[in-house]
């Protein structure tokens, strides 16, 4: 592609309207041609500068008697407030997570309350189940069953 042909593609690219094969051709040319790349970069910078001029989000118009009061409503302070809100939420969430993590770290897990003298039927049933499922790997369960049967 010649640099002259590249002009229209550059306009599309700077206008954010470049797609498909044009985008591919644009990328290929810009990768090869230093002059066009420098030109594109400097024009992109100009656009960024133009975008950096702040404007109001919208304008509020109030009627006071026979006068109209026009005042700008700006996005920036709202955005700042929004960011402040998010930062506060993030801070609160961090503290909460740290508190919960610290609490669970320092709290010992409660030991199961098992009375060896009177194993409940539920526990016995659990042993029977284990034994039925994996007879070769449940020696401990077998022993306990034997103890339990002898006691009964």
């Amino acid at each position: 592609m010649k640099c002259e042909e590249f002009e229209m593609l550059m306009a599309d690219a700077l206008g954010d309207e470049i797609t498909g094969t044009d985008a591919l051709a644009f990328e290929q040319h810009i990768a090869q041609c230093n002059k066009c790349r420098a030109e594109y970069e400097s024009l992109t910078r100009s656009l960024q500068t133009l975008h950096s001029l702040p404007g109001p989000d919208h304008v509020s118009v109030e009627r006071l008697g026979d006068r109209l009061v026009i005042s700008p409503v700006c996005g920036a302070p709202r955005a700042r407030l929004h960011r402040f809100g998010l930062a506060t939420l993030r801070y609160a969430a961090t503290i909460l997570i740290a508190f919960v993590a610290g609490y669970s770290w320092h709290t010992e897990p409660a030991a199961p309350q098992v009375n060896p003298e009177a194993p409940s039927e539920a526990i016995e049933q659990r042993f029977v189940d284990i034994h039925a499922q994996k007879p070769e790997r449940s020696h401990f369960a077998k022993c306990l069953l034997a103890v339990s049967n002898r006691r009964h």
């Binding site: 400097s42 100009s46 404007g55 109001p56 304008v59």
Partner: protein, 171 residues
Amino acid sequence: MTAVGSAASRAFELYINDVYGWAFRFLGHHHDALDVVQDVFLRWNAQCSRALPRQPRGWLRRVTINRVVDVRRKLKPDVNVEGGMEIVTEDSAPGSRLDQETLREDVAAALDQLTEMQRGVLVAKVYDEMTFSQIADELGIGVPTAKTHYLRAIRATRDRLQPRWSAEVEI
């Protein structure tokens, strides 16, 4: 209300945001922007009594930007951030306000060098986010012409802003 009065008040309701936004962006002061808004809608009223513009928004944009350039020419290059309401941005420290003011001056000076058509295309594309096709339709020109105007306008802005960037690099 007459037909002219009705068209004028409808245009005011529809386009007050746009007109104020264009004016404020390049002037940076609420009261200057209000002066431009008032002047533009007075002209709109006068225009409506003669003939209703085919593209009201395009007409308003063109007149507003021309008026902004006129106001900028008359304004002294002082930095009066105290007067009037201003848009507070994230970095509204005095230094950055000064930067923004000088930036506005540079951009307005760049606009001053452009033709009316180039200004219209640039503002429509950059700030109103219109497509080339919409711009061409609004201004009654071809799409390739709109693109050419756009490129020339950005180049003129770049040429005006380049000394500023060089100074930033030196600092």
